[in-house]
């Protein structure tokens, strides 16, 4: 199956936040007590009951009094996903056939390591200590429905479709290179940015923490190669030198 994805275009987002509402409605997520931080951004951060949200950025503009950027934040469904690398529980985080990063709360052991390996600070934990994040509405996709956020978006700022086709569409619309097109082996959520990612509150070069990469590439193989090595060396030593037997007679002679 072709890789499916989301194309997010902040330029045509009007900040209505119906994506947040639709996501909550479909996934039956309860409301969160929130705080007013003097911005229309609400709630201020992702929560275990909020899988996507609109991040409000106000930047100076020469033409108008100011410029508002609305950036949809969510799990990016990385092609090379840090959360999946570090997860110790088989099946808790898995690759869906559409190429998204799915979650299975039944299999999650609540170790919270995925949160530290995520380049985008996305995973949250629910009351049971289990992972909570966007799963690209795998249940809707399975029934030929569009993910709730994209379905409800009134302006087409969130579009769901074949990832390659979305990239083609964006290029036709004048976006030469999308954010997430190549990063981390290709993100499932692509962003059409007019300005450098930093302005939208995104990392220029998102990456899995180096310690996690080192652990995965070096320490993991070293653990079983090392174990096999010392066991083999011990056996070899036994064959070559044999046991260090002490003889009673000798001992008495020496003593």
């Amino acid at each position: 199956m072709a890789k499916m994805g989301l194309l997010i275009t902040p330029e045509i987002c009007i900040g209505c936040r119906s994506c947040q509402v639709a996501c909550k409605a479909w996934n039956q997520l309860p409301g969160d007590r929130t705080v007013n931080l003097g911005s229309c951004e609400n709630p201020p951060d992702l929560t275990p009951h909020l899988y996507n949200k609109i991040h409000y950025v106000e930047v100076p503009s020469e033409k108008t009094e100011g410029r508002w950027l609305f950036v949809n934040q969510r799990c990016m469904h990385c092609g090379d996903a840090g959360c999946m690398k570090i997860c110790p529980a088989p099946g808790a985080l898995y690759r869906t056939k559409e190429g998204a990063v799915g979650i299975d709360k039944e299999k999650c052991i609540g170790c919270k390591l995925c949160a530290v390996a995520c380049p985008f600070n996305i995973p949250r934990y629910d009351e049971q200590g289990k992972i909570a994040k966007c799963h690209l509405c795998y249940d809707r996709i399975a029934n030929n429905l569009t993910p709730a956020c994209a379905k409800t978006c009134p302006t087409g700022a969130i579009k769901f479709g074949d990832r390659d086709a979305l990239i083609g569409d964006a290029q036709k619309a004048g976006y030469q290179k999308l954010y997430g097109q190549e990063d981390l082996d290709g993100l499932g959520a692509l962003y059409a940015f007019k300005d450098p990612p930093k302005i939208y509150g995104m990392e220029e070069k998102p990456a899995i923490p180096e310690t996690v990469v080192f652990w995965n590439k070096v320490l993991k193989p070293l653990s079983y190669i090392g174990l096999g090595g010392v066991v083999a060396a011990s056996l070899l030593h036994y064959v070559a030198f044999g046991p260090k037997k002490e003889k009673e007679e000798e001992g008495r002679k020496d003593g």
Binding site: P88, I109, C111, T211, V230, H237, E248, E250, G255
Partner: protein
Amino acid sequence: MDDMIRKANGFEILNHWALALSCILLSITGFAFLFQMKEVGSFFGGFPSMRLIHNWGGVVFSVSLLLSMFNWLKESITFDADDMGWIKVAGGYLSRKVKVPPMGKLNTGQKFFYLAILFAGIAISASGFVIWLLPANKQWVLVSHLIHNISFIVIILAIPVHMYLGTIANPGTLRIMISGTVPYWWAKKKHPKWVQDVETRKAGLKST
């Protein structure tokens, strides 16, 4: 029947068994987490319960490790010229012809082994507790995850060698872990300076 001499008291034997069993349990469950071994997970009643076993096994291990300092630390940080000699002949393990210098209660290799396990053990315990109890502090968890895995490699390299040397490589050693006593002649061969110490002390007690 050989004359026996006590090399380990009851506390040492219990302490060693607690360390050994928890360490093996933690290594098996640790490997299962590292490589997502489903069968091992099922054996421990699924991954969520295996996590509990791993965490509480870690409590047993770290407490035992702290207690072990009363048993073996002092001896393990005391080195003399004979220890240098031991290193030069590699403890007599790479050639049967060399003469191994007389050893105290622990030989040089045992001292190094204990220090390695002590340091790696403290590192793996402390980092494990951070991952378990302070998940919100991401920088700490990242560093701890790295330390946890590096010290695991130290332990997984050291333990099999320790098990080999304590069993088939040196017949007669394992009984220290079971009864705590060894034949007098055996101790005199392997740990002459220690036997001498014990004798001197005994003589001292008798004379007073």
